[in-house]
Subunit: 422 residues, 2 copies
Amino acid sequence: MSENLIGNCLVAQSGGPTSVINSTLAGVVTEALKHEDYIEEIYGGRNGIQGITNEEFVNLAEESQLVIRGLRYTPGPALGSCRFKLKKQEDYDRVLKVFEAHNIRYFFYIGGNDSQDTSLKIHEAAVAKGQPLRVIGLPKTMDNDLPITDHCPGYGSVIKYVATTIRELACDHSGMGNHDLISIVEVMGRTAGWVAAGASLAKRKDHPHDPPHIILMPEIAFNPQKFVADVQNVLKSEKFCMVVASEGLVDENGNYVTASTKRDAFGHVAFGGGGNAEYLRDILEKETGIGAKITKLGYAQRAAAHCSSKTDSDEAFASGVAAVQAAIKGESGKMVTLLRADSSDYKCETGLASLSEIANQVKPFPSQWVNEDGISLNYQFHKYATPLIAGEVQVPFENGLPNFVRISSAKVEKKLGESQTV
Amino acid sequence: MSENLIGNCLVAQSGGPTSVINSTLAGVVTEALKHEDYIEEIYGGRNGIQGITNEEFVNLAEESQLVIRGLRYTPGPALGSCRFKLKKQEDYDRVLKVFEAHNIRYFFYIGGNDSQDTSLKIHEAAVAKGQPLRVIGLPKTMDNDLPITDHCPGYGSVIKYVATTIRELACDHSGMGNHDLISIVEVMGRTAGWVAAGASLAKRKDHPHDPPHIILMPEIAFNPQKFVADVQNVLKSEKFCMVVASEGLVDENGNYVTASTKRDAFGHVAFGGGGNAEYLRDILEKETGIGAKITKLGYAQRAAAHCSSKTDSDEAFASGVAAVQAAIKGESGKMVTLLRADSSDYKCETGLASLSEIANQVKPFPSQWVNEDGISLNYQFHKYATPLIAGEVQVPFENGLPNFVRISSAKVEKKLGESQTV
């Protein structure tokens, strides 16, 4: 046990949200409340690191227990998020100045690769300056591409929603199979095929004819000739052909098949719902004369709390709890990880990894999980992914629609005066 | 009470499915089983009228009770559907010949406008020929455009799913509102804006800022200048702008803004997931420089049983029951309708209307339900639509995914030998 560090804690959210991002927030708040000997005020930072530099804090302890419980099934970043990168040393100095002014000694940042890098740099800046601060990163990304952790909170829910949709479309299409029907479902994933792969869970056990029939991932170079041949091959034996395509397909030279020059704040190529589905449809129409129906689940994927995984939501909550416990014990510069037990039944515990091993790293999709045909996943992937979608979160409905919560607690008074634009 | 007509019954499905199309089928089968003095065998017709002409029947009474119960939450046409129009007198003669060969005296056809026309003509052909047959049409269309009936089974579920998605996207987007964010959600509706209008239910009571901010329907001529101005106006006061667009938008001359020359078997312009969202995005990008995120729910809308309305599913089932009861009582050439009681609480009963008043007719969206701004719906629409999404169908999940049923009962032996192509 390290020295007792007494002060306020701050939790914030960053990057694209998931269906369970607020479950992690609820875990942090719930656990922080239990440690009044260490943690005095529980602040929520509005709009990620961007809001933090402007002292945009709310007092989360003021929120009702109903709201904190409601966070466990409310999608979107309840505190507000940002896509913003601190650039200069002065930016980090500003953050530390804000933290000092508000006596913030515990900082929990819920985010993906880029956000873990932000957490690492804030940790390092505090160490360099000798400012007492414990920084713990919380994993959050439906992309499932953070290293070390077995999987990321948010992933199980997005693939549960996508696989549910595929299974429903299977019922729809199999009854309409009087003629050739090609269905293209475009899913998120600009650099990795984790989400597209998850669609394969829709196949029922011992039903090899079940869709999806073709899964296209960024990891497998897209070849139009092979694609057309694969579709034609499926239509020989099936009533319809369902294609699940990642939004980021690349050709054999590694270039996106639908080139876009736009980049987001982090320099990533920006996808606006993508154009892959239309690209694929046009290829098929030209080569086979058969049209295709398009479904683009877009941001609905990362917000579909009504179809989120209980396992995922519970693990997201547990991550938040573990982060607070680790910080209390003196840890800093770490990210909470999920560790899968080497047992026949699925068991998952939380662990810790150094942020320096995680920041800006990307976990590639294991190539050995893709079958030789390049368009389907094998048993190893199913074994990995199936437990992650287990169980259903019970979202309360009111008047026929999900009743989500909002954070409305009072703003914390600013101490540094004027906002500063970093 | 008319004469006792004893024989077999046949139920079949036609056109595009809905989330609750099989609930109607379950209602027919459940009720038919109770009338063994009238109805001997309960046949299901595979692939609509197209399969019927080829004697593609299964014996539904052989299905387990579990399967019949499972039909109440299984999307897609469990019997198979078709988009097929009988053309010549010989086609109707063939249907009557098939019916006579299998002693079919009761015919229940679940479908939309075109299918009700098919039912009407089969009824008329039987009357002309003096062949004992009772024909009852069952309403089914997520488009909600059948006349006389207050609403159509399938509509409540699609708008529950769409409004749920909008509400989730609202949580997502409101947390990402550090910069201008335009979100375009394309929904079904090629000639009527019923589904797009339903998205407005996502607005919480007394929260006028809630999305959707702009609803585009085929009934309101699309004007690009007004559209851009409307979006800019929303972005002045809101963190983001959510647009819900029907797939069939028309200009002031009544032409589709994204022209397509393809037509389906009924001569309708075919939409393959539509291109409206991209069209709107491109306009906005050109005029405002702001990109837009696209979500196209596609066929997922009509298959999303996991988010279907209990009210809708129950009414679909009740329609099936009412159809059998009406036929037993001697009715023919009628369609089951849903009648809303003139009471403060929502109450709905089934009625009957003549197929001749329904076939090929379309119920327009009431223009007085659209506000003067042309992009939002008023209280009258909300009063109409809100009860239709009430309650949640409990779909059983197994291993994390919905466990739908399939009809697998044995084929009925053909009596007329060779298939006939009509």
